[in-house]
């Protein structure tokens, strides 16, 4: 019989008062990681080395035992004449392995606490063991170790290590495994020239190099290449088999243009550098590669033109990137925040672009481009404030058209920053600035509105930001539909409901439109944030507050630097501009590179 409600209530109260610990397994609690938790309490650090030494010796003795048994069998069977060459070579390999097992060498290798810093062993088993430790095999299933033997007399044991999904399997099969497994010739095994011989005679791949340490092997494998390790040889052959799937070159998504190039960067670093190089076919276009992120080990490319870019600028960029101490960096924006001059200031200090033509044009001016593998946005440094108001097609159009657009964009930025605060200032403090008719019209439209003007503006601005954010987050056509419908319905309904006045809707809509005229997304975002700060000052101090805010922003701009170059250059400080700053002059008058960049070659 089921318990009635009184009995159940009684049990509930009793369970609260008379607490009994749960009998099942405890719930998972994600606690702080303590590195010593996994170690046995009485383990000594030196014991680890001793254990590994013993394991290595044990593996050697096993191999020796197998070899002895093999020799014994051959001698008994009377085939020693045919197998003498093979036995001799295998004995040589055993001797080499034994020489690596001397106490001094073992101590030296194991003194390097990180296994990847150790040099490769002549024993294939030792190498496999160390790689298993590095890659946490067999837990890490993305790592493939393919054992095979190179044909010939005698057959040579080898294995290839690569990461599944990062290699081009067709390339791996056709250019690496197939030629090696069908390699058929009489050779001197275990001599120092074997790898050279294999590279020259057997591997048709165009990217082949030697690896001497596990670090070399790890870097190569992590980049999508394949490492081949042979028995009896203490070096690896690294073959370029990288074939990560990536997006094909597409039209730019965020920097669309009517005129000019229509290609954009992809997530593949080599494709991206190739795109830039296809537009700048000069031999002094340098691409330096630096690894960033101790765990992510992302390739970061620094591009510049050696004969133009200022050496100290390049050194500084390299130095800052090398100085980034983090384990994971997956985005160029993240990297830039680590290396820019003023990380706490929200204004962008580098130009982010997905267009190879813009990168090429900026490199030709003496700037430096920073590319990160896996990211289609390239950052260009140093830049000035005015760079953010240039668009991609500015280079393709006539100066008159470009100048009109640039002035419009700057005006748009000013309106986006100040229009709501100027409206509030005038309606609260300086009504005399408006003609009487306009003033009466505004007053009439606000007659039935319950809220103060600043709250109206704030509500509408926040609504606008919500619609904008929702429009971006909702995918596909629905996003734009939400934007348009949301704005129309919200605005109209708010006016009918007397929550806001029509003039506020006009002001917020105008401000929003103006903010979209800024070509750089990050700059437009900052402008939207500043608007609220200015609004607060305008509500408190009217135009005085607006003037103070503008002054502070200007002071900030004049104080800021982008990789050592003044942010307001070439106006403050004044320098030779090259006639492509605020306005763009005729092509014939753009023979000078920007003076502020202090380039090696000031003339184009």
């Amino acid at each position: 019989m089921d318990d009635n409600i009184i009995i159940r209530l009684y049990h509930s109260v009793k369970s609260i008062l008379d607490y009994q610990p749960p009998t099942g397994s405890p719930n998972f609690v994600l606690d702080e990681y303590r590195p010593h938790d996994n170690q046995p309490a009485n383990s000594m650090p030196n014991n680890k080395f001793t254990l590994e030494d013993l394991n290595a010796l044990l593996r050697y003795s096993n191999r020796l035992q197998t070899f002895t048994a093999k020799v014994n069998t051959i001698l008994r069977s009377g085939l020693w004449k045919q197998e003498a060459r093979s036995i001799k070579l295998e004995f040589a390999a055993l001797e080499q392995q034994f020489s690596q097992l001397t106490p001094i060498l073992l101590y030296y290798d194991h003194s390097k606490t990180v296994p990847k810093l150790q040099r490769l062993s002549t024993s294939i088993d030792e190498n496999k063991q160390t790689l298993a430790t590095i890659y946490r095999l067999p837990r890490n299933q993305a790592i493939v170790i393919r054992d095979f033997s190179i044909s010939g007399m005698p057959r040579l044991k080898a294995f290839a290590i690569f990461i599944d999904g990062m290699v081009d399997t067709k390339l791996l099969n056709n250019s690496v495994l197939h030629p090696l497994m069908l390699f058929n010739c009489t050779r001197e095994l275990y001599n120092s020239h074997l790898t050279e011989h294999i590279i020259k005679e057997c591997l048709p791949s165009n990217q082949v190099e030697h690896g001497l340490t596990f670090d070399d092997v790890e870097n190569a494998v992590n980049s999508g290449n394949t490492a081949i390790i042979f028995d009896g040889i203490d070096e690896a052959i690294i073959v370029g088999t990288s074939g990560v799937e990536h997006r094909s070159i597409d039209r730019p998504q965020t920097e669309q243009s009517v005129q000019g190039s229509q290609s954009s960067f992809t997530e593949n670093l080599l494709v991206n550098t190739g795109l830039v190089r296809s537009m700048l076919r000069t031999s002094d276009l340098i691409i330096e590669t630096v690894k960033v992120g101790s765990r992510s080990q992302m390739n970061c490319a620094i591009m510049y033109i050696e004969s133009i870019a200022n050496t100290s600028l390049v050194d500084e960029v390299r130095h800052r990137i090398q100085g980034v101490k983090t384990d994971f960096l997956g985005d160029t924006g993240e990297l830039i925040q680590c290396i820019e001059d003023h990380p706490s200031i929200p204004f962008p200090q580098s130009l982010s672009t997905e267009r190879p033509d813009r990168v090429a044009a900026n490199l030709a001016e003496g700037r430096v481009a920073i590319l990160l593998d896996g990211n289609p946005f390239v950052h260009i440094v140093p830049v000035s404030f005015f760079t953010f108001f240039h668009s991609a097609e500015d280079f393709s159009l006539k100066p008159v058209i470009v100048n009109f657009m640039r002035i419009l964009r700057l005006l748009g930025a000013f309106i986006a920053t100040t229009l709501p605060s100027i409206y509030i200032s005038i309606s609260y403090f300086h009504q005399e600035a408006l003609p009487t008719e306009l003033l009466l019209a505004i007053a009439g439209s606000r007659e039935n509105v319950a809220f103060p003007a600043w709250l109206e503006i704030l509500l509408m601005e926040l609504s606008f930001e919500l619609i904008r954010e929702a429009g971006i987050r909702v995918p596909g056509f629905l996003g734009s539909s939400i934007g348009i419908v949301g704005a129309l319905i919200l605005g109209q309904a708010a006016v009918y409901a007397h929550i806001v006045s029509p003039i506020v809707v006009i002001i917020v809509a105008g401000t929003g439109l103006a903010s979209f005229s800024i070509p750089e997304y990050r700059m437009a975002s900052v402008v939207r944030i500043i608007r609220f700060f200015m609004l607060a000052l305008a509500v408190t101090f009217g135009l005085v507050g607006v003037a103070v805010a503008l002054l502070w922003i200007t002071v900030l701009f004049c104080r800021m630097k982008s990789f050592g170059m003044p942010y307001m250059s070439p106006i403050a400080p004044k320098s030779i501009a090259g006639y492509d700053v605020v306005l763009r002059g005729p092509i014939a008058e753009q023979s000078n590179r920007p003076d502020a960049l202090n380039v090696k070659d000031p003339f184009k």
Binding site: E437, V544, V548, C558, K561, M568
Partner: protein, 367 residues
């Protein structure tokens, strides 16, 4: 390029000189000058401007022969004690200008823009805004002014051109004003209103060459003198010298009187924005220069620790005078005393340099 720390060019020099010189036209100084010289007020800026340029040229001549800043050179020419006294005097000029700027701009902000605001809040806001800018450094202040210059000049020119329907040429007569003797006395005496231009010499070491200083002086002081003169012409032609002498803020009166159409009338809004920017930048430039001299005199390695303390003192001192009338009386005396800093000390230093040079030559001749 000149963006290395402590290196300024002609543009920064022009910016600093302009901000030191232009602030007075937004305040009661035009009324003060019109009261003293009548219809000939427009000549005063030209004469005092010419004398300021001469003074700067005399000092820049010294900087060609000696290295160092104003304190170092005065000590080299006049000895340690006299050098320090003169530097203290200049420090007083700049710090007092900063204090007075805060007071006058705050008072008048209440008058023209925010009548309901508490005076204390206005003081604090002005002083703190200026102090925040001082942290950015003199280089930045110079650049900001240079960047603002087109907007400041543009708005003043609008103010001068827009009231053309109301201009009355006859108000400029009698053309001799209160007499040429009065003009001469006041033009020299009122050169002190431009004493801020000595800022070029205080930071002379930061400028590229003596020629940079001269270029900045000619363009900035020359331009400002012409602008001041034009303003006097317009305000006298609009209101007459007697009425101007009674006004507290003549430039604001021009802004109020503009009426070209119903869509372009009473442009005080533009005026207020320019006014506030000029006020804060002027206070910041004066404060920085005063603090710089103070730190040099005290042998301090940086001015940063002094900024909050002196800002606090500045706010306190701004409260001293009971009302704006008493304040204008004090500031008039200060303007007149600044005459020594603007003209007398540069001449003394120049003469001392000549004497020293002759002595050196005669010593060399004896040897």
């Amino acid at each position: 390029m000149k963006y290395q720390v402590g290196k300024m060019g002609a543009s920064e020099g022009i910016g600093l000189t302009v901000i030191m010189s232009i602030a007075t036209i937004f305040l009661s100084s035009p009324a003060f000058i019109a009261e003293r010289v009548g219809t000939l007020a427009w000549v005063v800026p030209l004469v005092s401007g010419t004398m300021s340029i001469i003074a700067i040229f005399l000092l820049s001549h010294l900087f060609k022969r000696f290295s160092g800043d104003l304190l170092t050179i005065t000590e080299q020419l006049l000895g340690n004690t006299v050098g320090k006294i003169i530097s203290i005097y200049y420090m007083f000029i700049f710090l007092s200008s900063a204090f007075f700027s805060v007071r006058e701009f705050s008072e008048n902000t209440l008058l023209i823009a925010l009548p309901d605001l508490s005076l204390n809040v206005a003081f604090i806001c002005y002083a703190l805004s200026a102090a925040a800018i001082v942290y950015a450094g003199i280089e930045t202040i110079g650049r900001v002014v240079y960047l603002y210059l087109p907007f400041i000049m543009g708005s003043i020119l609008i103010l001068l051109l827009a009231p053309y329907p109301f201009l009355e040429f006859n108000y400029l007569f009698p053309w001799q004003g209160y007499g040429l003797n009065t003009l001469a006395e006041n033009s020299i005496g009122l050169a002190g209103t431009q004493a801020g231009v000595i800022i070029l010499m205080v930071f002379a070491q930061s400028f590229q060459t003596a020629q940079t200083i001269r270029t900045a002086a000619i363009f900035a002081i020359g331009g400002m003198s012409i602008l001041h003169s034009l303003i006097f012409v317009v305000i006298v032609m609009l209101f007459g010298s007697k009425v101007v002498a009674e006004m507290s803020l003549p430039l604001l009166e021009i802004a109020r009187m503009i009426h070209l159409s119903r869509f372009f009338q009473r442009v005080e809004a533009i005026y207020i924005m320019v006014w506030v920017s000029v006020g804060i930048l002027n206070t910041a430039a004066n404060l920085f220069t005063g603090l710089f001299l103070l730190s040099r005199l005290a042998g301090l390695p940086t001015i940063r620790p002094l900024i909050p303390a002196i800002t606090f003192i500045m706010i306190e001192l701004s409260f001293l005078t009971p009302d704006i009338t008493a304040f204008v009386a004090v500031i008039s005396k200060i303007y007149l005393s600044n005459f020594f800093g603007m003209l007398i000390f540069p001449i003394i230093l120049f003469i001392a340099e000549i004497i020293k040079d002759r002595r050196k030559k005669s010593c060399n001749g004896v040897q």
